[in-house]
Each structure stands twice: as structure tokens, then as C-alpha cells.
């Protein structure tokens, strides 16, 4: 990583720490803010957060690795999560999942080559009455059909 890049990341973490504070309870909000912007929390950022909160980097990594929505590896620009839990499953999730995989040319857990989309499964999104459902970044789409899902994904930049 370039020194300039490192410096700007450090500045970013510093301003987040200034906003959320240096308490341990600030850790999750800080990680979430980094995740939202960069789609993952790099090793370097984890170390910087640890330094500024005065905890061991392994503490930060243990939290990052625990939560399904925090990533320690680079992801695509958009994260698409399809609900795999029972109500969406009964409502036709399987057809949507296969169609999305074919269209993007990747399987669940992978990222497209142009880094546009990371495809994941999620557990119950709380949209059981309107399944199948998926979340694109933080937006929810319901009553999916294979065609509708593909149209939504094609819209994403």
C-alpha cells in the first residue's frame, strides 16, 4: 500500500475515533462505518483502530470475524444478500438464486470480476411475508422472481 493511501486511511480512522470515542463500545460503530464505506475492514485499518482504541489488534479481528456483515477481505462495490431461510425458501428462493448465479457467472460467496457485485446468502431478513427477499447494500427488495432479481442487479453500478 502506498504511504499516501495509508496516511489517508489513518486520518479516516482518526476522525471516526474522534466521532465515536475511544471506549470499547465504540468499536462496532467504527467498524460498521469503515465497512459501509470500503465494503471491508483491511488488516491495516484494523491495526489502526486497535492502536487508537488502545486494544490488541487481535481483539479487533475477533470482532470482525464474528459478525456476518463485517468483512476482512476486499468485496465488490455492492453486496447482494439473498435470504435463504425457510419462508423465502418456500416462496421460490432457489429459482432466484440459480438465475442470479447464471446471470452474474459467479456462485454465492464470490465477487464478479469487475468487482461490481459480491453475492452472499443471508439468514432471515425479516421479510418472510413478502419473500423471496434480498438486500442490496442497505436496500430491501421483496417478492422477487428470477427476472425481477436480474433487472434489479442490472441497475446496480
Amino acid at each position: 500500500m502506498l504511504v499516501l493511501e495509508k496516511n489517508s486511511l489513518t486520518e479516516e480512522v482518526e476522525s471516526l475515533v474522534e466521532f465515536y470515542g475511544t471506549e470499547r463500545s465504540a468499536l462496532l460503530p467504527i467498524l460498521q462505518a469503515v465497512q459501509r464505506k470500503h465494503k471491508y475492514v483491511s488488516d491495516f485499518v484494523q491495526q489502526e483502530i486497535a492502536r487508537l482504541l488502545d486494544i490488541h489488534p487481535v481483539e479487533v479481528y475477533s470482532v470482525v470475524s464474528f459478525y456476518a456483515f463485517l468483512h476482512s477481505e476486499p468485496q465488490g462495490r455492492n453486496i447482494v444478500r439473498l435470504c435463504q431461510t425457510i419462508a423465502c425458501d418456500l416462496a421460490g428462493k432457489e429459482a432466484v438464486a440459480r438465475a442470479v448465479e447464471r446471470e452474474l457467472g459467479i456462485t454465492f460467496g464470490q465477487t464478479t470480476k469487475d468487482k461490481r457485485i459480491t453475492l452472499e446468502y443471508a439468514n432471515c431478513l425479516g421479510m418472510c411475508d413478502q419473500g423471496p427477499a434480498m438486500i442490496v447494500n442497505d436496500r430491501v427488495y421483496t417478492h422477487l422472481t428470477p427476472e425481477k432479481a436480474i433487472n434489479i442487479l442490472n441497475e446496480i453500478k
Binding site: 471506549e23 470499547r24 463500545s25 465504540a26 468499536l27 462496532l28 460503530p29 467498524l31 460498521q32 465497512q35 475477533s62 470482532v63 464474528f66 459478525y67 456476518a68 456483515f69 463485517l70 435463504q84 431461510t85 425457510i86 419462508a87 425458501d89 418456500l90 443471508a122 439468514n123 432471515c124 431478513l125 425479516g126 421479510m127 418472510c128 411475508d129 413478502q130 419473500g131 438486500i135 442497505d138 436496500r139 430491501v140 427488495y141 421483496t142 417478492h143
Partner: protein, 406 residues
């Protein structure tokens, strides 16, 4: 901001979906004073709506009695149980009830801060909830000297989860708030004594808190006119699966399962999963049973399966869920769920033995007592109840399971 493609039905119900003037709950609370609030709550016999059913008044009284400079009110909006989405509706359509419930709790217990732990999947609600909180500040319902009462200061912050089902367990939720992995703590000590940052903390479900303003305005006795003796009031049921009208329904406790099925337009129903993946599966022969804490208990999740469904496949989906969501801290849950899932896969492939399955059932019962938190204690419920109630379908029809349906 409403979720995409969401069309709301007109809501009707006895308690939560009845008429309510925003602000009247807290005004009544200030008028009658702390002790009377607790007495009114006790009178109502309100129990926790998240599923465990602990009496709310008792919880509040324990925190009220705890001596500490700082106390916290935590609203558990980490609604992760498969098939549950009532809190989504409450937070989107009735935020005033939830926030006022927290405010009343803050006033009664002398807490200055309320925290909503909102599940990461509901991040899209953040903007609308925050703008509502801003509005409350402008109306002097939050902040300092609320409604002109000196020394009544309360603020509410929203904290997001990050996609961990186990954080719905109250001590795991507190761990998560403190910036740790969401691993459940040993209880006791309970959060009412040693909660967030080691301070006395009330952790209440969204629906529980939303019930409080109604109870104060209309009275505990009024609340008790709904429901049964042991399960007072009404409940929001999140209904999904094979029915014509899935959605959130407010019905009094004690409603029969078969009556609920009629209301939501379910036909050819084979089974109803009551209480989500961690609840139990009720076959047709038991549809006379009632939804209540003392009978078929639920935090709100009702999933309906019709005759065309393969129960083994449903069970497999549940167990895959628990294998993924187990936090891995204690062995019965971490290893047990994997073993139960392997057993299901063996049935699917037709390479099981009954000797092995009996051992797995025993393992399931061991998990129910030996797991550290509610996740591992309840994850074998589906396994045990589905294998018991649907053994004919799973084992008899084709000689082995998994090939007799969609």
C-alpha cells in the same frame, strides 16, 4: 423510508393496533408517578414479548430496586428469529409507541439513556427512526427537563447489529453493545443487576415496550380483559408460509391455531411451526391447541406448511440456520447442531439407522439442558418435534426420507 414494494394492510387490533394519541403515555406516567406505573404494569401481568415471557413488571422492579448511579434501558430490536417480522412493522409504523415505552421505562427506573439495538438487516429504517427521534427532541419529549420536569433527562441512541442471530439473546446483545463478539454470558448475574457496562439494565423486546404506553393510558385491568389468565393482552403474530394473506396480525392470546389459520386463509395445512426455527412444529392433529405462554408459546413467529411440503427439507433448512448462527462458544451448541444436521443428511440419503437417530435425539435433549444460552437450548426443538410428529411421512412413505414431496 419504507421498504421497497411493501404495501401495508389496514391494521386493526385490540391493544397495539388500537387508537393512541402520541405523547399521552408519558404524560400519564408523569401524572401518576413511578410507583403507580410499576403497580399498573403488575396489574396488567404483561410478559416479555420476545418469547421467553418473563414478567415485565418484575424485571422493572428489580432494576428500580438496584442501587446504581447509572442505569440503562435497552430495546431489543434484533429480531432474527426466522418467520418473525412484527418488530419491523412496529418500528416502521408505530415508532412513537416504542420510543415512548422506553421513555416511560427511563422515567420509572431513573435511567438517563436508552439504546435501541437494531439488527443490521434493518439498516434501511435508520433514517426514519432518527428523524422521529429528532422530532421528539424538538417536542421536548427527549433531552433535558422533559415536558418541563426538572431532573427528568433521557436520550435514545440507535446502535446497529451486524448480522448475528445470537445477539437477540439479551446478554449476547449487551456484549455486542460493549464492542465484543456477541457471545452470551453466564446468568446469573442477570442484566437487571449487571448489564450494559456492568450497570443495571432493562432489556425489553420492541413489542413489550410498545405495549407499555397503552397499558398506562387505558389501565392494567383493561389490558387483562384480553387473552387468558396466564397470558394477558394480545400478541402480534408474524404469519408467513402457505396462506393467502401473510402478514402481521394482532390477536388475543389464547387464540386457537385452527382459528388463526382461517383468518389468514390457509388451506390444506399440514403443520404449523410456532415460535420460529427454535420453536416447535405442530401437526394437524393438534390444531385445537391455543397460542399462549402456557400452551404453544411463541415470540410471534407462525409459519404455515401445506400438504405439498417436505418436512425433512424444512427441518434441514432450520438446522442449517443454527449451524451457521451458533456462536461457537459452548460445545453442546457448536458441535451438537452440526451432528443433528449430519443426521438429517443421512436420512435424506437413506443411509441412517434408527439406533443412530435415537442417539441424536438424546443428544438433542442434552443440548436443551447443557447449552449456555437460549440458542443451543432451543435449536433441537425443531429436530425433536419434526422427527416425532412426522415420522410416518419421513420414514414410512418411501422407506427412507426426503423423496416424498417437493
Amino acid at each position: 423510508m419504507k421498504p421497497n414494494g411493501n404495501k401495508y394492510a389496514v391494521r386493526q387490533g385490540a391493544v397495539l393496533f388500537s387508537e393512541y394519541a402520541p405523547g399521552s403515555g408519558i404524560k400519564k406516567a408523569l401524572e401518576i408517578g413511578r410507583e403507580n406505573i410499576l403497580l399498573e404494569l403488575r396489574e396488567s401481568k404483561l410478559k416479555g414479548r420476545g418469547g421467553a415471557g418473563f414478567p415485565t413488571a418484575t424485571k422493572w422492579m428489580l432494576v428500580a430496586a438496584a442501587k446504581s448511579e447509572e442505569k440503562f434501558i435497552v430495546c431489543n430490536a434484533d429480531e432474527g428469529e426466522p418467520g418473525t417480522f412484527k418488530d419491523r412493522v412496529l418500528l416502521l409504523e408505530y415508532p412513537e409507541l416504542v420510543f415512548e415505552g422506553m421513555l416511560i421505562a427511563g422515567y420509572t427506573l431513573g435511567a438517563r439513556q436508552g439504546i435501541i439495538y437494531l439488527r443490521g438487516e434493518y439498516e434501511y429504517m435508520l433514517k426514519s427512526l432518527e428523524s422521529y427521534l429528532e422530532q421528539m427532541k424538538e417536542d421536548n419529549l427527549l433531552g433535558n427537563n422533559i415536558l418541563g420536569n426538572p431532573n427528568f433527562n433521557f436520550e435514545i441512541v440507535i446502535r446497529l447489529g451486524s448480522g448475528a442471530y445470537v445477539c437477540g439473546e439479551e446478554t449476547a446483545l449487551i456484549e455486542s453493545l460493549e464492542g465484543n463478539r456477541g457471545e452470551a454470558r453466564n446468568r446469573p448475574p442477570y442484566p437487571v443487576n449487571t448489564g450494559y457496562l456492568g450497570r443495571p439494565t432493562v432489556v425489553n423486546n420492541v413489542e413489550t415496550l410498545a405495549s407499555v404506553p397503552h397499558i398506562l393510558v387505558k389501565g392494567g385491568e383493561w389490558f387483562r380483559t384480553f387473552g387468558t389468565d396466564k397470558s394477558t393482552g394480545s400478541k402480534l403474530f408474524s404469519v408467513s408460509g402457505d396462506c393467502e394473506r401473510p402478514g402481521v396480525y394482532e390477536l388475543p392470546w389464547g387464540t386457537k391455531i385452527k382459528d388463526l389459520l382461517e383468518i389468514v386463509g390457509a388451506k390444506n395445512t399440514k403443520a404449523v411451526q410456532v415460535g420460529g426455527a427454535s420453536g416447535s412444529c405442530i401437526p394437524k392433529s393438534q390444531f385445537e391447541r391455543t397460542l399462549a405462554y402456557e400452551d404453544a408459546a411463541t415470540g410471534g413467529s407462525i409459519m404455515i406448511f401445506n400438504e405439498s411440503r417436505n418436512m425433512l427439507k424444512i427441518l434441514k433448512n432450520f438446522m442449517e440456520f443454527f449451524v451457521e448462527e451458533s456462536c461457537g462458544q459452548c460445545t453442546p451448541c457448536r458441535v451438537g447442531n452440526v451432528k443433528l444436521l449430519e443426521g438429517i443428511e443421512k436420512i435424506e440419503r437413506g443411509v441412517y439407522t434408527f439406533g443412530h437417530l435415537n442417539k441424536l435425539k438424546e443428544l438433542g435433549r442434552t443440548m436443551q439442558v447443557a447449552s449456555k444460552c437460549g440458542l443451543g437450548q432451543s435449536s433441537p426443538n425443531a429436530f425433536l418435534s419434526i422427527l416425532e410428529n412426522f415420522k410416518e411421512e419421513i420414514f414410512n412413505k418411501n422407506g427412507y426420507g426426503g423423496h416424498n414431496g417437493k
